[in-house]
């Protein structure tokens, strides 16, 4: 019988090996998929037990922190936002029962301390409790507050301010905002999402998700394409009559003013539609779209926000919900002056201003600045990187000169800061029967993009106001000025 006993033992050895194999499968090999399963609530509960890292503004003030609740095994951490509504956008929120959004969502791994697999294993071996790292952002609370207050006074809108040389985001304001501390309250959350708020959409970060007609601010892109392609020089003149016929439609200047033969400076300073419409046609769709893409159009801006919360700008076919390309039929002259079906996010427009300001180099916009671990040492630092180079330094300088004219003597004089040269461009897009504005016929989207100081740019800003009956110079340029002054004063 002994032989059989040994064989039986061998058989049981095999059975036990199968057990080890299956355990290895669930615990190691397939673990990632199991953790990602929507039925698996463990990762969420576990995150709740981790003290999530703080999020700080560039001056060290606390934007988000975790507060412990309960004791022992039942200890959980709840997110608290000491500054309330100020940074509802773009920081977002992180609550286990609800969800995560925006910056909190994008930087979840660092904030929960899960970014390196190796570190986690080391922690397991040493028995260290997982602890999140804190992130210092480049956000400027003073400027953010100025922007939020100015927007609240003007209505709905957004402001984005970027440091041109680094891409550091100083301000990203969206109005109306919301207080992230109210998110866990089911009633409040429902209210924020309700139909009544359809026009207000407080949870939507307009800066990155608001698609608006850019109006005349787009003329900066058209001018860039003209200069960069050699179609025009700053001296080239184009005859700009009161109106031209484009694709069977009339394209007119304000008050049908006939400007005669003028060059870029005069055309941009006075935002002459017929001049830029013709320039667009001369440049051609191919070269215009190439320039747009170099500025970042047609793609999600490379910012540290979740993909689904950042929208690409471009010519949108609203029926199919798709972006049109260089071979799709578009009314080019109207695209060139920022009309047609062109829709742009404030973030994208700020990137245009920032690229011109940074001598033609577009830096990747980033909100985070550095990651600091629990001991206080910096583990990662944002390294400014070039996203693209849409313009040569020469073209950028020529455009800057033209944009300075806009603020000094043209359509954007309300952006002027005493003692500081400012370059910019206004925009006023007509948005009749806009649902968000209540469907009124006289509604405009007011814009201002620009940078200051024009000779040594420290800040590039896009400001926009929805549903206004006024011009960009009246509603958006003052916001630009206030935010720029605050940031320059803090330098």
């Amino acid at each position: 019988m002994n032989r059989q006993i040994i064989k039986l033992f061998t058989f049981i050895l095999v059975l036990f090996a199968v057990l080890v194999g299956f355990t290895a499968w669930w615990s190691v090999v397939d673990a990632k998929e199991l953790k990602a399963s929507k039925w698996n609530h463990r990762p969420l509960y576990e995150q709740q037990q981790i003290p999530r890292g703080r999020i700080l503004a560039d001056d060290g003030s606390v934007i988000a922190k975790s507060v412990p609740e309960g004791h022992g095994v039942n200890r959980t951490y709840v997110r608290h936002y000491p500054l309330g509504e100020l940074f509802g956008h773009p920081i977002g929120y992180s609550f286990i029962e609800v969800a995560q959004s925006e910056f909190e969502k994008y930087h979840n791994e660092e904030l929960t301390g899960e970014e390196s697999e190796f570190g986690t294993i080391l922690d397991q071996l040493s028995g260290t409790k997982q602890e999140g790292e804190q992130i210092v952002t480049s956000l400027d609370p003073k400027a953010q507050e100025v922007a939020m207050n100015a927007l609240a006074a003007a209505g709905h809108g957004a402001v984005v301010a970027i440091e041109p040389s680094t891409g550091a985001v100083k301000v990203m304001a969206s109005s109306p905002g919301y207080n992230p501390n109210s998110i866990p309250n089911a009633n409040e959350f429902e209210k924020l999402n309700s139909q009544a708020e359809e026009a207000n959409q407080p949870l939507v970060n307009r800066a990155a998700q608001g698609l608006y007609p850019p109006g005349s601010t787009f003329k900066v892109v058209t001018a860039a394409a003209g200069l960069e392609s050699g179609v025009i020089t700053p001296e080239t003149t184009i005859n700009a009559p009161g109106s031209i016929i484009d694709e069977g439609h009339e394209l007119a200047n304000d008050y049908n003013q006939n400007w005669g033969s003028i060059s870029l400076d005069t055309a941009l300073t006075n935002s002459v539609n017929t001049w830029f419409g013709q320039l667009g046609q001369k440049v051609g769709q191919d070269r215009l779209f190439t320039m747009m893409e170099k500025f970042g159009f047609g793609a999600r801006p490379p910012i540290d926000l979740p993909e689904e919360e950042v929208l690409p700008s471009g010519v949108w076919d609203l029926e199919t919900g798709k972006l049109l390309g260089r071979h799709d039929p578009v009314d080019l002259a109207r695209v060139a002056i920022g009309q047609e079906r062109l829709l742009v996010t404030p973030l994208q427009d700020a990137m245009v201003a920032a690229a011109v300001a940074n001598r033609g180099k577009l830096m990747k916009p980033q909100i985070w600045s550095r990651v600091v671990n629990a001991d206080g040492s910096v583990t990662k630092r944002m390294k400014p990187s070039v996203y693209s180079e849409p313009l040569s330094a020469k073209t950028a300088a020529e455009l800057t000169t033209a944009m300075e004219g806009v603020v000094r003597e043209g359509t954007g004089t309300n952006a002027a800061i005493p003692g500081v040269p400012v370059a910019g461009k206004t925009g006023t897009a007509e948005t009749p029967s806009n649902k968000a504005c209540g469907g009124g016929a006289e509604e405009n989207q007011g814009w201002f993009i620009g940078f200051a100081p024009a000779n040594h740019p420290k800040i590039a800003i896009a400001a926009t106001v929805e549903c206004t009956t006024q011009f960009g110079n009246d509603v958006a340029a003052p916001i630009f000025r206030e935010v720029a002054q605050t940031i320059l004063a803090g330098e």
């Binding site: 057990l19 355990t23 673990a31 698996n40 709740q48």
Partner: protein, 448 residues
């Protein structure tokens, strides 16, 4: 001879240390400070083990030195895990551990001549079957998750299948000891397959029918599988005919396939096994959570006391249902990782190896078959429950020996250990005597 006991004594020291360290880890986790209570628990445990060890020194000086420490190790481990789930349960379990040791001692005291069991084999078999069917008896039977595995007599409830497995193994060992010759000699080859003689085919069919009935009555695939596997293991060892095993397996598969198709509860269990995500929030919840808990453990686990059994802050949301019984293994994987789980399985494997070693050393047929049967049923039970929570087979309500919470389980398994040690004591004594006194080098019963 005392060398064996000295080894046993030495082996107990790491067990007590592990228990102390384990409790210390759990305490440290829960109270963030280390009391000396963990030392007290370790000391109590060591004292009980020492008393048992001294008793074994007197009564069974030759018995296998590793079996008791290995099982004490599992018990200690189980106590720590259960303590970590619920302090009260751990106290009960500790009481059952002491009670199990009392029964262990009584078994050794009164069954020194364990072959008397052979005389009562039909009474034992009847008792075993009655025990198995008891949960279906009105008034005392208890249904848990659709399976009938528990009996409630007044305040005491227990799982009779734990004791029935001992009775069935004793009966089968005795029956096959007597009939193995005829089963081998009388076998006929039909169409190239060796079939048992018709006359003896009958009793085998009875065993098959019994396990099928068992499946229908108690509706527990795992228990049924455990019994039938023990039977096939014994049949194989007794006759050396692999074809009998194959026939038995085919019969079992056909039978259980039919029952799975017809008995709703058993069918549901198989469905959950195959498609756990289909009813992820209801019937599939336990197996899914068990897999999720394992995924959470990874290679090294989260550490003692770190696993989520309840949702933090929501004590009524259970993350790992039946963590102290059915799903204690996933809890182990969660807290100690794949490495800890391998350690646990290795411990069971060592016990199995020592059990079969005992069977190899035994000199008479009954002892050999008894040791084989007890070891096999133990090993298969481990496979059934760990296989259940790792989705190798459908999950059923069998306990993880010595680790899961449950009085019946721990007491019955200590009786199993007592029987194994009785067989081992005699076998090793005879081997030593054989080697020294009459010089017969060849142990009895070696040729199959």
């Amino acid at each position: 001879m005392t060398r064996a006991r000295n080894r046993e004594l030495l082996a107990l020291i790491p067990v007590a240390l592990l228990l102390t360290a384990g409790f210390a880890a759990v305490f440290a986790q829960e109270n963030a400070k280390l009391g000396n209570l963990s030392l007290t628990y370790g000391a109590y445990f060591l004292a009980v083990c020492l008393a048992t060890h001294i008793y074994l020194r007197i009564r069974l000086p030759h018995a296998d030195p590793y079996l008791f420490p290995l099982m004490a190790l599992l018990t200690a481990f189980g106590l720590v895990m259960i303590y970590r789930i619920d302090e009260g349960l751990a106290r009960n379990q500790a009481n059952w551990f002491v009670f199990g040791l009392v029964l262990f001692a009584l078994t050794i005291q009164f069954l020194r001549e364990y072959e008397v069991l052979e005389r009562y084999r039909y009474i034992i078999a009847t008792a075993g079957i009655l025990l198995l069917l008891a949960p279906r008896l009105p008034g005392i039977g208890e249904q848990v998750n659709g399976a009938y595995l528990g009996v409630k007599l007044g305040p005491i409830s227990f799982q009779p299948s734990e004791f029935a497995k001992l009775a069935i193994v004793v009966f089968l060992a005795s029956y096959l000891r007597e009939h193995r010759e005829v089963l081998i000699v009388g076998a006929r080859r039909v169409l190239g397959v060796t079939l048992p003689p018709l006359k003896h085919f009958g009793p085998m069919l009875v065993v098959w029918g019994a396990s099928m009935l068992l499946l229908v009555f108690i509706r527990d695939l795992g228990t049924s599988l455990m019994f039938f596997a023990a039977f096939l293991a014994l049949l194989y060892v007794a006759t050396g005919r692999f074809s009998f095993v194959v026939i038995g397996m085919i019969l079992f598969l056909l039978g259980s396939w039919f029952i799975v198709a017809t008995v709703p509860h058993v069918h549901e269990r198989v469905e959950i096994w195959l498609h756990p995500y289909a009813e992820a929030e209801s019937s599939g919840y336990q197996i899914l959570q068990s897999m999720f808990a394992q995924a959470d453990g990874g290679l090294f686990g989260k550490g003692f006391g770190q696993a989520l059994i309840h949702a933090p802050g929501h004590p009524r949301t259970i993350m790992l249902p039946a963590a102290e019984t059915d799903t204690i293994y996933p809890l182990v994987v969660n807290e100690l990782g794949l490495f800890g789980a391998c350690g646990l399985i290795a411990t069971y494997l060592l016990i199995t190896a020592r059990g079969f070693k005992t069977a190899l050393l035994a000199n008479d047929g009954f002892s050999k078959l008894l040791a084989t049967g007890l070891t096999a049923v133990f090993a298969v039970q481990v496979f059934v429950i760990i296989g259940g929570v790792t989705r190798v087979i459908p999950l059923t309500g069998v306990t993880l020996p010595f680790v899961s919470y449950g009085g019946s389980s721990i007491v019955a398994n200590f009786v199993l250990l007592a029987l194994l040690l009785l067989v081992s004591n005699r076998a090793r004594r005879e081997a030593e005597e054989g080697a020294t006194s009459d010089g017969r080098g060849e142990p009895l019963g070696a040729p199959a």
